[in-house]
């Protein structure tokens, strides 16, 4: 009951979805659509579990007065602020995501700047990592260095000023030299993903049930 039924669910679901891809006629075609609807509904519930987990973590931090517990209060302030303006926008308009709503305004002015700054912060760490990676110690590292420099300089106006053909060369490196290996890596990743998926569906891989 605790192990066999989940394994049976795994096999039947996987079988239906795969067969419906190769046999798009009745009843499999309709079953695939139905399975995808079920999938999205269950995804919603799993998201709720994630939200609950984070809320519990911060509640515990505050209750036990752990080091830096007041950051958890800030977390809840942000959480309830966003939730409140979301509810207000939902009551006022059928679509809270449309421009002009309080929710959209909060998203545009706070969440997006925070998100892009977080990613922009990585620029400094990538630059520091590239200093270590690009040191020309051997042939492989030298190739990495040369290609990265061509791509970086070729994609900024300074590259064009330096040599008018540099942007063209950078594009050629990106569209031709990079294409073959990237396709090879994609094929390898896909073969691994398909093998793993089959292992899951056939019940060989069971770690997710433990």
């Amino acid at each position: 009951m605790k192990k066999r039924v989940p394994l049976l669910i795994t096999f039947i679901t996987g079988f239906i979805v795969i067969v419906s891809f190769f046999v798009p006629h009745r009843p499999f075609g309709a079953l695939e659509t139905e399975t995808l609807i079920w999938y999205s509904i269950i995804l919603g519930f799993t998201l709720l579990i994630g939200v609950d987990s984070l809320v519990r973590l911060h509640t515990r931090q505050i209750r036990r007065k752990k080091k830096g517990w007041w950051y958890s209060i800030v977390f809840f302030a942000g959480f309830f602020y966003c939730l409140t303006i979301g509810i207000i926008s939902l009551i006022r308009t059928p679509n809270p995501f449309q421009p002009g709503t309080v929710f959209f305004y909060g998203y545009e002015t706070i969440l997006i700047p925070l998100q892009s700054t977080m990613f922009a912060l990585l620029a400094f760490f990538v630059a520091s990592a590239s200093y270590r990676a690009f040191r020309a110690r051997n042939l492989d590292a030298t190739l990495l260095l040369i290609t990265a420099v061509i791509v970086m300089i070729g994609r900024v106006p300074a590259g064009h000023k330096l040599w008018t053909r540099l942007p063209g060369i950078a594009n050629w490196v990106f569209d031709v030299l990079q294409m073959g290996p990237m396709r090879g890596i994609m094929i390898g990743v896909a073969l691994g993903a398909v093998a793993m998926s089959l292992r899951l569906i056939l019940g060989i891989e069971r770690t997710y049930l433990s």
């Binding site: 192990k3 039924v5 989940p6 394994l7 669910i9 679901t13 996987g14 795969i18 891809f21 609807i37 079920w38 999938y39 269950i42 919603g44 519930f45 579990i49 994630g50 809320v55 950051y71 800030v74 977390f75 942000g78 966003c82 979301g86 929710f103 002015t109 706070i110 969440l111 700047p113 925070l114 700054t117 990613f119 922009a120 912060l121 620029a123 400094f124 590239s130 990495l144 290609t147 420099v149 061509i150 970086m152 994609r155 050629w172 990106f174 569209d175 030299l177 990079q178 073959g180 290996p181 396709r183 890596i185 094929i187 390898g188 896909a190 993903a193 793993m196 998926s197 089959l198 997710y208």
Partner: protein, 209 residues
């Protein structure tokens, strides 16, 4: 120079500076902005959940005509995830998890086979139309050689000697070039984001330019 008078611009600018303060070292300002970001993201996720999942996929099909009563089954299956809160019934989560993992894996198989394998192989074939000019011919051959030698490099079930070893060596050259290009591209993408934030601070907030 005309500094912005909008409270929202000031909030966004101060939060931006708080995050950049991490470049000096981990400090309370950064952690404050980080926790605001986490809280807002979570609130945003809940609103999306309500708007994109609960209303169109559960509430409307169940309570409005034509009623789709069959949705009760995935809802019940989904509610089994709440079993995680009970020590006695936490095994119930295995049912929705089994469905979720299996559906995701099964959806991946045709997608991977079609887009990540067949389409890539098809695009790399040396068909006559790829030899329309000398330049195009060289490009097509380079892509083909890059693909084959990369695959050879990652094939570890055969000893690397003679032609196979040489092909693997060519493969690593192509791989390094590809990684270099990808790395350079990533650096530039991050730098352009940084420029965007700097433009916001200098133009929108301080009004210098």
């Amino acid at each position: 120079m005309s500094i912005s008078t909008s409270i929202w611009i000031w909030i966004a600018a101060l939060l931006t500076l708080m995050i950049y303060s991490f470049l000096y070292k981990d400090n309370p300002f950064y952690r404050l902005a980080e926790h605001i970001f986490m809280g807002l993201s979570l609130g945003y996720t809940l609103v999306i959940l309500w708007y994109d999942y609960i209303i169109p996929r559960i509430y409307q099909p169940l309570f409005f005509s034509p009623h789709q009563w069959s949705l009760i089954f995935p809802i019940l299956l989904g509610m089994m995830t709440f079993g995680i809160f009970s020590k006695k019934y936490n095994w119930l989560i295995k049912y929705p998890l089994a469905f979720y993992v299996s559906a995701f894996a099964a959806i991946q198989i045709p997608v991977m086979l079609r887009s990540w394998i067949l389409k890539q192989v098809e695009a790399s074939f040396l068909t006559p139309d790829k030899f329309s000019s000398v330049f195009n011919s060289i490009n097509a051959i380079l892509i083909f050689v890059g693909l084959v030698t990369t695959l050879i490099y990652f094939y570890f079930s055969k000893k690397r000697e003679h032609g196979f070893g040489a092909a693997a060596t060519v493969g690593i050259v192509f791989i390094m070039v590809a990684f270099g290009a990808a790395f350079g591209y990533t650096v530039m993408a991050r730098i352009s984001l940084l420029i965007g934030r700097m433009q916001f601070l200098i133009q929108d907030w301080l009004g210098i330019m």
